[in-house]
Symmetry: C2
Subunit: 263 residues, 2 copies
């Protein structure tokens, strides 16, 4: 871990808000900017990263006590429990201590080598997985927190900010995903999951708001087909919104300063 310059967690108190999608696209976007990037998926029960990057058929090699991660393109190294399952329907019916052990393995025994950025995709909640990561990875820069706009999500995601504060993790910013929808037939806007909840929460919690990303059926298709949206649809409004939310993370040192001042 000492050869990794920046370590960013992608967190959410709530499932299904697009955490893994944001993590995968952030990693691809950083690597397209010439950064050496690692993407670590610590969702043990529902690892989505292999599917999101079209790497479902990948397996990883072990040499001695070291695991060589999978790769996406030339600059992005990827590790997920998904690479160790024989069948995609296999379920890991594991309690916390086993999850802690495998996460420890992913942190200590994967040959990440030198990286500019390690992006860690955590499962929802404030339980074993994010807790293990926060304890096992030294010098985390901070967390990007993903929410959707509706109150039902925001309530859970606020707990995530509490989690960061209790563990002294800077909050790099909040992304409001599925923020508004434009009907492809009539071009009129419908706020299916309401709007503004993420921005409002960021304000109330005194953490940076990175931006809103619209709900886009093309994004859903991109996820299902393993083609990271930001790489293949980069002219779309949705991709532009994503880029603009990611940009401040390139200046992560500044962000950390801002987050520290806000505390």
């Amino acid at each position: 871990m000492k050869n990794i310059n920046h370590k960013i967690l992608v967190l959410s108190g709530k499932g299904g808000v697009g955490k893994s999608t944001i993590a995968a696209n952030l990693a691809v976007w950083l690597s397209a900017r010439g950064k050496k990037v690692g993407l670590l998926d610590v969702d043990i029960h529902g690892p989505s990263i292999p599917k999101l990057l079209g790497l479902e058929q990948e397996t990883v090699q072990g040499t001695g006590d070291k695991i060589t991660p999978a790769t996406y393109g030339r600059m992005l190294k990827v590790m997920s429990i998904g690479f160790l399952l024989r069948n995609e329907n296999d379920a890991l019916i594991w309690r916390g201590p086993m999850k802690h052990n495998i996460i420890n393995n992913f942190v200590s025994n994967v040959s990440w080598d030198e990286l500019d950025y390690l992006v860690v995709d955590c499962p929802p909640g404030t339980g074993d997985e994010p807790l293990s990561i926060a304890q096992l990875i030294p010098g985390i820069d901070g967390a990007v927190i993903v929410t959707t706009p509706q109150q039902l999500a925001v309530v859970d995601v606020k707990k995530c900010i509490t989690f960061c504060r209790q563990l002294n993790l800077p909050v790099l910013g909040v992304i409001e995903n599925m923020s508004g929808f434009v009907c492809p037939h009539c071009n009129r806007r419908v706020d299916i999951f309401r709007e503004g909840g993420g921005r409002q929460m960021a304000g109330e919690s005194n953490v940076p708001f990175l931006g809103g990303i619209p709900l886009d059926p093309e994004m859903v298709l991109a996820c299902d087909s393993g083609r990271p949206f930001i790489a293949f649809n980069n002219q779309s409004i949705t991709a532009q919104a994503m880029c603009s939310a990611f940009k401040p993370l390139l200046e992560v040192d500044t962000k950390i300063q801002i987050a520290k001042e806000a505390k």
Copy 2:
């Protein structure tokens, strides 16, 4: 637990698919049919049930070693870790063993008394919470599995069916939530999260398909305002779809038989 006639788990391998919304509406719908119902929320990190039923201000009383659950209407008893938190932003940063203990408490020490149905809302994944519930509650009738249509969700939800099979839990059926969207401006359909993935998965896994429920901004509003959709919007197409998905669960004995035959 021995005075509870039917015990139904609401499960999903994936977060954010509407598990808690389905569980809350199912419990309200059963109680509106004259059944004595209990609703147990075992999502420790993101308890949504209090908000969904407008019970955020409720607290629960302990007498000796017994906890009296909150109530919604006359027929529905509700228990959630949410009732024990002083502040809705409080996060329980708990590892598995502590979660197991509190779930054991909810199962053993809550005065459920006689119930026709206990509906248990589990958090996503195949980890401590659903595992504890499956081990602590004797004679579970089976699980209702909730998914959204897109492959990214279906992949995780299939793991949930594997979980049920490994633990000998009958699968009562699959509900495909957020299944299609009708634009309120132009009345044309957009399959935002694709469509048919839940039905297809049910077919492939040889478990019953209970039905699809459309994505409906009114449902999102109902959730955020604590007014269970099925009780307040019962003439809408979405509520009708929900009722039709729930109906087979009233004949849960038959469903169990079907699930057992399918195994």
